[in-house]
């Protein structure tokens, strides 16, 4: 009997959380499109996500490109198909690794920071203070972050794509000694607009997920320092899992025909 009770309790808690998250998401989206807007805060968040994440995401991308080139060389040299290194690198980066790695990095950097900041605002009554100063916290805190995540992640991933391909180029040309112009030619020939666009759409969705999780967990944090810590952890973990989940779903939507 106790066993069934536990299952029931967990299931109900899951449904309640799903419901709360859905309401929060819907409310966040409607506040993104209804005035008043806070351009100053949107800009600040865009710089935080797009500009200050560049070093982390860039480093991740360059090493991902490099290791891809190295690994695919090991594999392809068995079939004397080393010419395909460029294709593997560019397709993997633009379709998958660019958006997913950038998403995970930004989840760690931005999602955590947002959850901690909004969570601290919650426990120090700053969110209540916003309401008493006739400012809707969903509009002032959540909407600008969602907008910034949605718009800046594709930009970030586009740059990461270029850096990742460059990483592959470095290893292929300087370490493995292949011809540079051949590599670039192969990259360009095999790349289709769909590959890049699908990656950028993913990036946008991941940006939304990261900022949404950061805001949701921060906004609903309880208690003091411990609550904020938990909110931060939950934001990063849930964002990372959702990114991988949605990566599959989106890939299925784009390419499974």
């Amino acid at each position: 009997m106790n066993f069934l009770q536990t299952i029931g309790r967990v299931f109900l808690a899951f449904l309640a959380t799903a419901g709360r998250l859905t309401i929060f998401t819907a409310s966040g989206i409607t506040h993104c499109v209804r005035p008043p807007f806070y351009p100053r805060i949107i800009l600040k968040q865009m710089i935080e996500i797009g500009y200050y994440s560049l070093p982390v995401v860039g480093l991740t991308a360059v090493f991902a490109g490099m290791v891809l080139a190295l690994q695919s060389y090991t594999g392809f040299s068995r079939f004397s198909a080393e010419g395909a290194i460029a294709n593997v690198v560019v397709l993997s980066i633009t379709r998958e690794l660019g958006p997913v790695l950038a998403g995970l990095m930004v989840a760690g950097r931005i999602g955590a920071a947002m959850a901690a900041e909004i969570g601290t605002m919650r426990v120090t009554e700053q969110i209540d203070a916003l309401t008493t100063l006739s400012t809707n916290p969903m509009k002032y805190l959540v909407a600008p972050r969602l907008i910034a995540g949605l718009t800046m992640m594709p930009v970030l991933v586009f740059i990461a794509d270029i850096i990742g391909v460059f990483g592959g180029y470095l290893v292929t040309v300087y370490k493995l000694g292949f011809n540079a112009s051949n590599y670039l030619q192969n990259t360009w020939n095999f790349l289709e607009a769909d590959d890049v666009i699908s990656g950028l759409v993913k990036a946008s969705v991941f940006g939304f997920i990261v900022t949404l999780m950061g805001c949701y967990h921060g906004y609903n944090s309880k208690g003091g320092a411990q609550g904020v810590g938990m909110a931060t952890t939950n934001a990063v973990v849930s964002a990372s899992i959702l990114i991988l989940c949605f990566d599959y779903i989106l890939t299925e939507m784009f390419f499974a025909k």
Binding site: E125, Q126, D128, A129, T131, T132, S134
Partner: protein, 258 residues
């Protein structure tokens, strides 16, 4: 009470969190320009009362009227319209730590676009002067200020939009006795100057007697005694006597096990 209808009127307000009943039928009227202090032990629902009036929490039952209008369940722009006339000083000041002092003070007016950013600085200087702070700290971050100064900035922010109603949430908690008295004097002076209706919650009896035109004791989810400060000491109410003298023994049973 004056002849006009009360500014704030709570009628049978009930609020429970799960099994735990916090407010069990609170009735309280606050007249226009009156200063009422709600006293009560920790966890008796003083903060919940104020949050219900502001719409941060929705009561399960009862009416809350501001200027005769029932504000329970108001949402969105309606709620913002009501809250525009309310200023609040939070217990830990709740200043926005990502903004400078002057932006904090002028936040409400800036948010409503009733003022541009250049005028906001001047207004902040003016309001800070009312609470005895100089213009030299308007560019500082709230984190650079002491607790007492943060309270003052919070006070300046609460009065910046010339509210009709001000809530003070434990204005003296966590301050040394002298700073606490300074804050008390400021609150009295500001209430007189801007003529706002004030509702204060505290468990500091000295503060309550100084600030309040009327004191109300909240116990077990109800207002069980209310009267002017000079009657507090000879009320013959066993609950009130126990509270003001801070005795463990008496009719009030603190939930020590909770």
């Amino acid at each position: 009470m004056n002849a006009r209808s009360p500014k704030i009127s709570l009628q049978g307000v009930k609020k429970a969190f799960g099994e735990k009943v916090v407010l069990n039928g609170v009735d309280l009227d606050v007249g226009v320009g009156e200063s009422v202090v709600i006293i009560g032990g920790s966890g008796t629902g003083k903060s919940v009362t104020i949050k219900c009036i502001q719409g941060l929490l929705t009561p399960d039952q009862g009416r809350i009227e501001i200027d005769g209008e029932n504000v329970v369940g108001l949402g969105g722009t309606e709620r913002e319209r009501v809250n525009k006339q309310i200023g609040m000083l939070f217990q830990a000041a709740a200043l926005f730590d990502s903004l400078a002092v002057w932006e904090n003070v002028a936040f409400g007016l800036l948010a409503e676009k009733r003022i541009n950013r250049r005028d906001a600085r001047d207004l902040a200087v003016e309001k800070l002067a009312l609470v005895g702070l100089g213009s030299n700290l308007i560019d500082l971050s709230p984190a650079d200020l002491s607790g007492g100064m943060q309270k003052r900035v919070g006070l300046a922010r609460a009065i910046a939009a010339d509210p009709d109603i001000i809530f003070f949430d434990e204005p003296t908690t966590g301050l040394d006795p002298i700073t606490a008295d300074v804050i008390n004097n400021l609150i009295v002076a500001i209430n007189q100057k801007i003529g706002a209706t004030a509702l204060t919650i505290t468990h500091d009896m000295q503060s309550a007697k100084k600030i309040g035109d009327r004191i109300a004791l909240l116990y077990d989810g109800k207002i069980i005694w209310a009267g002017p400060p000079d009657q507090v000491d000879n009320s013959n109410n066993p609950y009130l006597d126990q509270f003001i003298h801070g005795r463990t023994d008496g009719p009030i049973k603190m939930a020590l096990r909770a």
